[in-house]
Symmetry: C2
Subunit: 642 residues, 2 copies
């Protein structure tokens, strides 16, 4: 099952030996099929400038001269010019010791770091490989943060081993915690990324998954993690393969790290990169949803406002292509027809499709009626004048007399008769967020008292979400409004901190409201909702926002869902929805997280508000340690017009 | 000890009975000497609009009409017009139940709240008294938050009992935690304030003090907390008196709450407010520092930049008035002179006053020499051309020949001889923050190798600070720069979460740097500092920023300090310094708080960076639950020019 459409994966190399010649290294890396090489910027001897044992005044003076910005000597540099720049990632010296207790070593380490970085930036290297933080790393974080603030093009790849090899079993989460703290101190800078180094033993899946929410730009494969196949070639274990394949979705660069274990010398060093490319080529073909969503991963879209705005033809076009959704609707109408009248009866069932768009539900209703062998009279109501043109064409060319098309808002239509079945497709990613409840309340007046609404109900679910990627996307707007706006997103770089839970539901027809003389609800308070759900958070993580999903009963057993656990297979009409938090909250392991959610309404609009509160139990005491504000108060930043 | 200069304190009244007539109530409140009255906006019968048991359709229709905004009936209102508006605080009905599990009660409570609030705002009431949050209060917070977002003039006074009377001993901090959560959900809105209700038993001082960092607009004194003196008049216990006096510094309104205990009926209801005014009149006179600081409490000032800017005459004028500081300097010079030469010796001691300003240290040095009976030759070096005019006057009119005045930067002056004693007053609130280290490094070249610097050293201290007041002041600027700038502030509405700890010190003369041919340091790296201090936080609180202080040894035993524990009595030249945090961090009780602080330098400037990290020990595990970014990276927001 080879997949030739997959783009070529970038595979580079990192050697253990520090003091290499650039030209020779580049040549040998190219010969062994690598796309780039991570090379130290200076020779190891440059370490003398730490001056950690300065005694006499002459040496002290030399040190101060160096500190005052003496240029590199040519012999100190490995990367001496910009000849091979496109082929290189610069490596900062491992010996810099920014958190030394010695003021001199600390100061000189920072100067050396700045020097190396500034030379690499001057040459135009686009990525710099920096050392793993040690246990105490605050001064390292500060120094790097300063560099990040000044750098325009250069990205930082921070070497992060997936497990701390010294304590491989006891402490699986330690490296993530360390990384997390480091980037928090650095304001989640978007140019600070991870070069994730795999280990011989990988931690449990739950610990692997948390890395998917992180900005991984490179994956380091030390040669020691490779096994040997029967032909003597390097291969990865099933578990490593699985993880590498998952990582490949995020399109990182790969780096073969020659750790001098020399396990596969007979087959040559090229074998590692060939194997990585082989894994990439044999990735399974993306499924329909992945194909559809390609390019949309982690891309923030504003939810549709079909009531306020008229959808464009291309939007209808895309959604009509969903292979699953309309089949489910057809099935629902089919069963409803069967239940509605007996086969022998000659009665006509009145179906009203409200919000008919370009007519897919009309077509499906006709099909359902044919299959069910029932007589139907269909009305199609649509308020979008452009879509109505298509409806007119459909009626004259395809549907004919059995369909009556009506131009207008379903909430205001004076229907000539009452419907047996009301069919609508007004659901948004959050269920009610495209105002299905309000629209169907208005349409309900021309549904018979015992009539059927398809959908008959929908439930909304939320879960706590971690995703520095999405958070950075939102915060790039640098304003409050975007933090208080929900987005439709195809999740990729995310980790769910707990499984989704239901917050509320809507049912149709709805008998709970008082009507006015026009048979419309006298107000919309019956469609407000308020819910608190409690999540037990087992593993620590950063809460960046809240994911939203819906599950709908179209008719009896015919259900439609975008909730991961029950997702209607192959249906791509809805991505989940994402409600951001203004300030990310670090959730410690074994925390209790309360999420509060509101659906609120005025006479003009509907909006959501949300807030969270995290607590920890210490002995018999519950300590609440992190709360958000209530976001989007009064719908100040985002709302849906009625 | 009566203090007639104290401004009149506002004392109002709150009655237990709900259904009162406004005109009568106002008259009786005035007759008993009160300045205002807290009065319910509607009669208690208005509760019928909760419609908590709506059965038939007719009543349902009535409810919906009311929900749709039917105006108040005149009879439902207690406050019916704006006749007594300046005398009234409106009270929201206690029966509103915003967190009811019943959708109808919840919805109608919010409508009633909005109605009452909007009527009060319409009348122009400037304050609204709202009920204490119950155990579940999220929907209450959301509803109030919405109102806060829309209100322009009206302030909210939230009734907060200082202890939850149901569990008076076990749970002293519960009410503060509740309040804290409530206002966090409400984005720390500046119009949401506390009406703090005192109880018969007051909690321990440490729990009382945390309220000083909160926005207390009113203090409620229920009549039951009053004792009876020998004449039968109401008085407060010593502990209550002490707390009330402390609260009076924040100038809240007081409210006598007639809780129907009827303890002092013989002496009349006026006796309570008279007693409160009596306490206010007999407050101790403010000390010199309080007098000097009056009007400056919690006011953010930018630290001086004497090196970059020339100080104004009025600034010198104020600081020269300090009764303590110059006496300490005189003492230090006196002892240094005694140590420097024997009395019988006829040797002349060379004193150089660097940064002489308008000359106070010159005058004090002359006095010290006279007292010590030592011969001196004094140089006064000053770079501010305006101050130098005054120095010229002083020389010709007062000092005469024994003083040589020099115009120029002390770091560049070519002195004609070397000094025995170098006297300077370059310290800022944070010790080194007005660049004393850099200036004295430059002046050191004309100090004899065994010469004395006054001051000889200074140490910097920090402590974690809670102050929603200061935080709101900083965030009012709505930009990053102000969050990354230190301020000089006379603390008032603050609580220290732990005692100050030392972070670093400077000593003069300083032998640790290499000099260039001009005898100046070749660079400034020796004046960088980095320190981590760990605080154990016993009681929970919100960390809004970091307080800074200094302690200095002028000479041997002569010290000068603005650290609270060792503050030089009566000295007012320095207020503490405040480094804000961009995002406040809630610190749970028994937490460990690490604060990291840097003093950093380039060739052009000096700046500070700071960050914090809070953790909690659960079993054997340390859980880090809250970190800040590293603030002011690279001095991007605040720095001191060299």
């Amino acid at each position: 099952m080879s997949n030739n459409n997959v783009p070529r994966v970038a595979v580079g190399v990192l050697y253990s030996q520090e003091d290499r010649d650039t030209a020779l290294s580049v040549t040998s890396a190219k010969e062994t099929g690598h796309d780039f090489i991570i090379l130290p910027i200076t020779h190891s001897d440059y370490k003398r400038f730490l001056f950690d044992k300065v005694e006499d005044n002459k040496e002290k003076r030399l040190m101060e001269e160096w500190r005052n910005g003496k240029p590199f000597l040519k012999n100190d540099l490995i990367i001496q010019n910009n000849e091979h720049v496109d082929y290189l990632v610069g490596k900062i010296s491992d010996w810099i010791d920014l958190d030394s207790s010695n003021h001199q070593v600390r100061t000189n380490s920072e100067i050396a770091l700045n020097q190396q970085f500034s030379w690499a930036a001057h040459l135009g290297l686009t990525a710099i490989f920096v050392p793993t933080p040690t246990n105490s790393f605050l001064n390292y974080a500060r120094s790097l943060n300063k560099i990040l603030g000044n750098s325009t093009y250069t990205h930082i790849w921070m070497r992060i081993p997936i497990i701390n090899e010294d304590t491989p079993y006891s402490n699986d989460i330690e490296m993530w915690e360390k990384w997390n703290k480091f980037r928090t101190f650095c304001e989640n800078h978007h140019k600070l990324s991870i070069a994730l180094e795999l280990s011989v033993n990988l931690p449990d899946d739950v610990y692997l998954e948390r890395w998917f929410a992180e900005p991984i730009k490179a994956v380091i494969l030390p040669t020691k993690i490779f096994l040997t196949n029967v032909k003597g070639y390097p291969v990865l274990s099933k578990k490593h393969q699985g993880f590498v394949k998952k990582l490949m979705k995020y399109k990182p660069s790969f780096v073969v790290f020659d750790d001098m274990t020399s396990k596969h010398q007979d087959v040559g060093f090229a074998a590692y990169q060939e194997y990585v490319r082989h894994i990439n080529r044999t990735m399974p073909e993306p499924n329909q949803i992945e194909q559809f969503g390609n390019g949309y991963q982690d891309f923030l879209q504003s939810p549709l406002q079909p009531l306020m705005d008229n959808l464009e033809s291309s939007t209808y076009e895309i959604f009509e292509k969903d292979p699953v959704k309309y089949a489910l609707y057809e099935k629902a109408v089919y069963y409803a027809l069967l239940d509605r009248v007996a086969l022998e009866s000659n009665e006509i069932t009145v179906i009203m499709v409200v919000g008919a768009g370009r007519g897919p539900l009309v077509t499906r209703s006709i099909k359902a009626a044919e299959k069910a062998n029932r007589k139907v009279r269909i009305y199609a109501v649509e308020k979008n004048p452009n879509a109505f043109v298509i409806l007119q064409n459909m009626k004259s060319e395809v549907w004919g007399d059995k369909v009556t098309i009506v131009f207008g808002d379903m909430r205001k239509w004076k229907a000539p008769e009452k419907a047996d079945i009301l069919v609508s497709e007004l659901l948004g990613s959050f269920g009610d967020n495209e105002l299905s409840p309000e629209c169907l309340d208005g349409a309900q007046k021309y549904l018979k008292p015992d009539g059927i609404s398809i959908p008959s109900s929908y439930r909304t679910f939320i879960s706590p979400l971690s995703s520095s990627k999405l958070y950075n996307e939102v915060s790039a707007y640098k304003d409050l409004v975007h933090f208080e706006t929900p987005y439709v997103v195809m999740f990729q770089s995310v980790t769910e901190l707990a499984k989704p839970q239901e917050i509320w539901q809507f049912e149709h027809p709805n008998g709970s409201f008082v009507i006015d003389e026009e048979e419309n609800p006298v107000n919309n308070y019956h469609n407000t909702r308020y819910s608190k759900v409690t999540f037990n958070i087992t593993n620590s993580g950063i809460l960046h926002g809240i994911a939203g999903y819906f599950e709908s009963v179209l008719y009896k057993d015919v259900t439609m869902s975008i909730l991961p656990a029950t997702h209607s297979e192959g249906m791509f009409s809805w991505f989940p929805i994402f409600f951001p938090l203004k300030v990310p909250i670090y959730i410690t392991s074994n925390s209790t997280l309360n999420i509060y959610f509101w659906r609120l309404t005025s006479s003009k609009k509907v909006w959501y508000e949300w807030c969270v509160d995290a607590s920890l139990t210490v002995g018999s005491e519950t300590k609440s340690y992190g709360s958000s504000n209530i976001q989007n108060v009064g719908g100040r930043s985002s709302w849906i017009g009625l």
